[in-house]
C-alpha cells in the first residue's frame, strides 16, 4: 500500500487516477450503488458536495485526457452512460434516485463544457479553473449524448412525480372541502362518486403541499440546477391543473359556485407555495390559468349579454368546447343560483364562433414541456475535492 503523505491542496491538479482494469469497480461503486444508503448512513444525512459523483467522474476523465489515452476516455464515458442507464432501469420509479442522477448527469455535462477549453464556456472560470481544461480531446459529441441522456432522465422524473401526484389531485383539488360550510348543501340528485382512487378525505391540500415540499427539498439537496427545478415545478403544476380541469369537465357534481370557490382557494395555496419557494418566475402559475378561468366561470353571473361578453373576454385560456361544457354542467346548489339557460349558452357560442381554437375538450395531461439545460458553471475548485471513504473508492488517487 502506498504511504499516504498529506499534501497541500494547491499541489493537486484536480485529477483522479485509476487503473484501466479498475474501471468496472469505479463505475460499480460510484454509479451502481444505492445512494440512499451511501449518502445517509444510519439515517443521518452526510454533507457531501452536491454533484460529487459528477465531479469525480470528470476528474477521472481529466486524468485520462492528460494521459492522452483516447481509449480510456471513451471507455469511461461509455461505461458511465451505461451505468446511469442501468441504475435508472432498476430504480427508475424512485424519485430520489432519478432526481439524483438527473442532477449529476447535468453537472457532468456542465463540467465537460466548463473545462472544454471553448471560450464561450470559460467566461466565469478562475485562472486555476482555466488551467484545468481538457488538453487533448474534444468531447463535444459526448456532450450531445449526455444532453440526450439528461432529456431521457428528465422525462422519467416527470413520469415518477406524475405517478405520485395523480392519485392525490382530484381528491385534493376537487373533492376535499377545506372551506367549511361553503357547500353545505349538496346538489339535489347528485350521488357522490365512488370511483375516485382515494376516498374523500384521504388526501388534503396539506398532503399535496407536503409532497411538493418533499420533491423540492430532494431536488435542492441533490444540487439540481435552479433553472431545471423551475422546469420540473412548472411541469408538476401543469399536471395538477390539467388533471383537475379534465375531471371538472367530466363531473357535474364539480360544477357549482361553491366548487369554484374551493378551487380558487386551493389554487391560491399552490401560488403561496410558489411564492414561498421563490418560484413565481418559473411559469408554473401560468399553467394553472385554464383551471383558474374555469373556477371563475363557475362563479360569475351567467345571465345577460353583458355577462356573456365578460365571460368571452375572461376565458381566453379555455377552448370554446370547455366553456360550453362548464356552462352545460353548471348545477345550482341553492335557491340563490340559477341554471344556465340554453339561450345564454347559444349567445356564448355565437360570440366565440370566430375563435380559431381547438375543438378539444380535455387537456393533454400527459404533455411534457420541452426541457432545456442552461449552462451552469460551478465555482468549485476541483483540486479541493476530497473523496469520502464511504464511497469505497480507495483505489483511486488524487493527482
Amino acid at each position: 500500500r502506498p504511504v499516504n503523505i498529506p499534501r497541500k491542496e494547491k499541489d493537486f491538479q484536480g485529477m483522479l487516477e485509476y487503473k484501466k482494469e479498475e474501471e468496472p469497480k469505479l463505475v460499480k461503486n460510484l454509479i451502481l450503488v444505492e445512494y440512499v444508503f451511501k449518502l445517509k448512513p444510519r439515517g443521518v444525512a452526510v454533507n457531501l458536495i452536491p454533484g460529487l459523483p459528477a465531479y469525480i467522474l470528470f476528474m477521472c476523465v481529466r486524468h485520462a485526457d492528460y494521459l492522452n489515452d483516447d481509449q480510456k476516455v471513451r471507455s469511461l464515458l461509455t461505461s458511465t452512460i451505461n451505468g446511469i442507464k442501468k441504475v435508472l432501469k432498476k430504480r427508475g420509479d424512485d424519485f430520489e434516485t432519478v432526481s439524483f442522477w438527473l442532477s449529476n448527469t447535468c453537472r457532468f455535462l456542465h463540467c465537460l463544457k466548463q473545462y472544454s477549453g471553448e471560450e464561450g464556456f470559460m467566461k466565469h472560470n478562475t485562472p486555476r479553473q482555466n488551467d484545468h481544461c481538457l488538453t487533448n480531446f474534444d468531447l463535444a459529441e459526448y456532450r450531445q449524448v449526455l444532453s440526450d441522456l439528461s432529456i431521457q432522465i428528465y422525462q422519467q422524473l416527470v413520469r415518477v412525480l406524475e405517478n405520485i401526484l395523480q392519485p392525490m389531485i382530484v381528491s385534493v383539488m376537487l373533492e376535499h372541502e377545506t372551506i367549511q360550510g361553503v357547500s353545505g348543501v349538496k346538489p339535489p340528485g347528485l350521488r357522490k362518486r365512488t370511483s375516485s382512487i382515494a376516498d374523500e378525505g384521504t388526501y388534503t391540500l396539506d398532503s399535496i403541499i407536503r409532497q411538493l415540499n418533499t420533491f423540492h427539498s430532494v431536488m435542492c439537496q441533490h444540487g439540481m440546477d435552479p433553472e431545471l427545478i423551475k422546469q420540473v415545478v412548472k411541469q408538476m403544476f401543469y399536471i395538477i391543473g390539467a388533471v383537475t380541469l379534465n375531471n371538472l369537465l367530466l363531473r357535474k357534481d364539480m360544477c357549482s359556485w361553491s366548487k369554484g370557490m374551493q378551487i380558487r382557494y386551493n389554487v391560491s395555496q399552490l401560488e403561496e407555495w410558489l411564492r414561498d419557494k421563490n418560484l413565481m418566475n418559473s411559469g408554473a402559475k401560468e399553467t394553472l390559468e385554464p383551471l383558474i378561468q374555469a373556477a371563475q366561470l363557475l362563479q360569475v353571473k351567467k345571465k345577460t349579454d353583458e355577462d356573456a361578453e365578460a365571460i368571452c373576454s375572461m376565458c381566453n385560456a379555455l377552448t370554446t368546447a370547455q366553456i360550453v361544457k362548464v356552462l352545460n354542467l353548471y348545477t345550482p346548489v341553492n335557491e340563490f343560483e340559477e341554471r344556465v339557460t340554453v339561450s345564454f349558452i347559444r349567445t356564448i357560442q355565437m360570440r366565440l364562433r370566430d375563435r380559431k381554437d381547438s375543438p378539444q375538450l380535455l387537456m393533454d395531461a400527459k404533455h411534457i414541456f420541452p426541457v432545456t439545460f442552461p449552462f451552469n458553471p460551478s465555482s468549485l475548485a476541483l483540486e479541493t475535492i476530497q473523496i469520502p471513504a464511504s464511497l469505497g473508492l480507495g483505489f483511486i488517487s488524487r493527482v
Partner: protein, 31 residues
C-alpha cells in the same frame, strides 16, 4: 501566459440508440 489551445482530437461518440444496441448485442452474446 501562453494562449490555451482548444483540444484537438474530436472523440467520436456513439448515439444513445447505438449504445443501447451495443449493450443488447453484448447481452445476447453472453450465455
Amino acid at each position: 501566459p501562453a494562449q490555451r489551445q482548444r483540444p484537438r482530437v474530436l472523440l467520436k461518440a456513439p448515439t444513445l440508440a447505438e449504445l443501447e444496441e451495443m449493450n443488447l448485442s453484448e447481452a445476447r452474446r453472453e450465455p
